[in-house]
Amino acid sequence: MSAEETEQLAAQWLAREDRGLSAEEALALEAWLAQATLNRVAWLRLKAGWTRAERLAALRGAAPAPEVRKGLRSRLLLAIAACLALMVGGGALLAWKLAAKEQVFATGVGGMQAVRLADGSRMELNTNTRVHADVTAARRTVTLESGEAYFDVVHDARHPFTVYAGNRRITDLGTKFSVYRNADDVRVLVREGRVRVDILDKPEVDAPVVAEAGHAVIAKGGETLVMAKPDIANDLSWRSGMLVFSQQPLGEAAEQFNRYNSRKIVVEGEARKIRIGGSFKADNVDVFVLLLHQGFGLSVNDQGKRITVSR
């Protein structure tokens, strides 16, 4: 059994202990600990860390309940806590630091939104995107639930800007980058500077990659690929409402259009492989299919919600 698996079991046991063990469970735990010294040391190690975290209780009272999205009342409390923190200053700064102040931003299909965050960083949401932002001067966290967002980060090494997407954490090392997420498929494009990408649910792997400007990180499950991406400007052209293709298969280009429009293009058969280049307005499906018809002689069948393109 690997150290990781043992640690996982140890964590499960401690989490159960933390909620209270039944007599039966207590016996089972004893047996598990007696079974191997490796079990016992893994358990002791996590227990020591968790016990050390008891010290965090010293912050009790300084911190308002870290409830998020609990409506007006808690927001009011939060505001009051924040004011108090400002007045009292010093130690009470912790209150502000620990207060979760989460905002939700979302765009629908075809929508786009630019947001200036509290720390001065800029975030641009692409089509059909949903993010939670928890950004104060002291803590800068954004969670990308789905879709794509571009970040132009005001660098502050003491308070790293982190984006959570699926099982990855992307940490800014002074930079402009975008993150795309579709379920467990996470892609990061670095336009300037560098970012670090960590895996979250396998802490023992802990093999972060650092990607520099002009590179893409493609992550799925436990695997991570870093590749040079000379045409990053094309991939980020959505920021100006454009889709730029350079010799991409038509099937992929259509999928790009479909991210922005509720009328979906379906490319059938051989036509999917035709390579196309050019730049198009993301929301102008009609012109795109018209050009396909005129340029490649493809037949276009417009059924309203669905536009079929074939040879």
Partner: protein, 191 residues
């Protein structure tokens, strides 16, 4: 004089050395994926040895055990590259850094913990926060967050692992490691 129970001894005298041990292993072992195994194995050997007799000086003892373990593993590999051997930090073994580093002052400790807490994914962080700072029970946390008790239990387990990882000094090591290998890491075997 009665001896401290061994579990207590292990938590107070051995585990605080983890950041140093991790750095030592990372300097001397190329395959990052095996560091955790080496660390756990070293701990187990120290624990078992201490059951027979407690070492007088913990740090040199721990490092000696870790070193022996690495040598054992190198011997078992059928092909040992010269590079690996040359890399091995043979001389710089018993003394890493001043040991005061292992015992951080209370204020620093709080800062360290807070940094570790800040690094947790948002949901996990909230659970740990409510459990540890607010002192709520897991059940109460589940009620307030409107999630199942299983979810809270899972997040607690996850939080424990990530906290141990952060406190064990893997964070700082991570950046250095990332720089060394730059982009590419071998994908780990998928079970």
């Amino acid at each position: 004089m009665a001896e401290q129970p061994i579990d207590e001894w292990f938590m107070h005298d051995v585990l605080p050395l983890e950041p140093m041990l991790t750095r030592f292993l990372q300097r001397n072992w190329r395959n990052e994926a095996e560091i955790a195994d080496l660390r756990q194995e070293s701990y187990a050997r120290v624990y078992e040895a201490a059951q027979r007799e407690r070492p007088l000086q913990v740090k040199p003892f721990l490092f000696q055990i870790a070193r022996n373990l690495m040598i054992d593993r190198l011997r078992k590999q059928s092909v040992v590259s010269l590079e690996t051997m040359a890399d091995f930090d043979w001389l710089n073994v018993s003394d890493d850094k001043p040991s005061s580093e292992a015992y951080v002052a209370a204020r620093q400790e709080l800062r360290l913990l807070q940094a570790a807490l800040d690094d947790l994914p948002p949901r996990c962080r909230q659970v740990v926060l409510m459990r540890k700072i607010e002192g709520l029970s897991q059940k109460e946390v589940a009620r307030q967050m409107g999630v199942t008790t299983e979810t809270v239990e899972n997040q607690v387990a996850k939080g424990m692992r990530l906290l141990a990882q952060a406190l064990g000094g893997r964070r700082g090591a991570v950046t250095a490691e990332a720089r060394r290998y730059n982009f590419f890491k071998k994908p780990r075997d998928v079970r």
